[in-house]
Symmetry: C3
Subunit: 201 residues, 3 copies
Amino acid sequence: MALHVFDLVGIFVFGITGALVGVRKNLDVFGILVLSLVTGLGGGFLRDVLIGATPPAALQDWRYLVVPVVAGLVTFFLHPRIGRVERLVNIFDAAGLALFCVIGARKALEVGLSPLSAAMLGTISGIGGGVIRDVLSGRVPVVLRSEIYATPAFLGAGIVVLASAFDYDALWVPFAAAVVCFLIRLVAIRRGWNAPLPRTT
Amino acid sequence: MALHVFDLVGIFVFGITGALVGVRKNLDVFGILVLSLVTGLGGGFLRDVLIGATPPAALQDWRYLVVPVVAGLVTFFLHPRIGRVERLVNIFDAAGLALFCVIGARKALEVGLSPLSAAMLGTISGIGGGVIRDVLSGRVPVVLRSEIYATPAFLGAGIVVLASAFDYDALWVPFAAAVVCFLIRLVAIRRGWNAPLPRTT
Amino acid sequence: MALHVFDLVGIFVFGITGALVGVRKNLDVFGILVLSLVTGLGGGFLRDVLIGATPPAALQDWRYLVVPVVAGLVTFFLHPRIGRVERLVNIFDAAGLALFCVIGARKALEVGLSPLSAAMLGTISGIGGGVIRDVLSGRVPVVLRSEIYATPAFLGAGIVVLASAFDYDALWVPFAAAVVCFLIRLVAIRRGWNAPLPRTT
């Protein structure tokens, strides 16, 4: 139940990031809605296809289609004036990352993947939507260029996986995992945390 | 039966668009054939993977491989001189969009998706090949930048879905749906129909 | 058994190419690891999803995750100074192409695809990882721009398919097929073999 809400909220916030990027690229409202839909649903499609859970949840329940459309329309009408767009993208993106890595890990455990693979699938779910958004709109994917990004997703998914390995199934675990991922990512953006660069001569 | 022909014709015209983009990018004949294949088959692969119909039809029937290769070769030898390429891409692309949105919606209904989801899958099938073509060749995807594009596909798929909801299964329905999508898209290109842009200050 | 080793070696060399491209793009170590993972595992994911073998092998066996991470770390610490990166990418990429086209063809035959389709799936497996690497890092995909690339993969896959069609199942067949693909690709790079270009006026 909680997971279902997580999924829809994650789709909503990712949808907002897609729409914001569309606003920034000066797309018209339909282009913005397309970007909102693929960003919101892309990570989940990737996740469901990889575990063979087809058709993806988003194609079996109309709410999954309405949520990113609403996110796109809200953004279209209420988007900020020029200047703060990129920062908003990062914040909403961090929220989506946090929610999707948790759901992805849970779904992977449900279909019987090993702990390491479940953490990996959680990470893929988390970063998938943003990668698709950035590739379609011609940006370098945030997962490659930004401050640490896949790492917090892997940590969030890892917490879920560890708790499950110890048969500890309290309701607060997914919440805590998402919060940990979200906060680490936000601090990383704020402080400009980067991992070491390759040496050059 | 009619659908099968739709599928092959759709692959052919999408294959032509891929090859034309390859010609424009000055790729050699093998690069052109690759682009012809991924553009022709991409949307159907995406559709079949999303509904779990794997391996995709295109990998089970040799005609699905021959058709885009022929499209690529024909284009390679007969492509127009510089200048009219982009316009031809748009026209063939509109035909592919129209055919694929109809087939996608039908296939989605056959596997039991709900009407809204079937219309959505039809739209995804229609726009998929063009998105893959544009991403691979470094163009902004036509679905984002162009005059209304996903909307006619959604309408075409919607007509198929509505007819099926009313148990009306006449042979002319898919034809009419494809024609509606094709004409709206052509008029949109001609007239430069765009949806509203986000306001900026 | 041999195929399993092929798969892991292919993932390793593709992982190296991803990491080298990351080094060249001056990504930090985590960005490099992400690129190493998607390049190493991308082609196999695509292959497994297309034949419906989900979850992909790489998500069911921890070694598949460790191998590209090791490839990425080794490259991060031992990458060459500026200048020879692109050449190294090409050589390792040719090795990955050769290994993956063979494995892809074998897996396709195992799930009962026809010879032509199996050769096609082998080709897709071979070129998939490189396409994903190049699209994510904003390069024109090597399969489009480079000297003949898909053709050697199709030949390598074709040898496997032909041998199987004649029920000839000797252990050296996959090795020979991979070597043929690898050598043709290397000679093509060396000699700058290109297919004919479209005529322009």
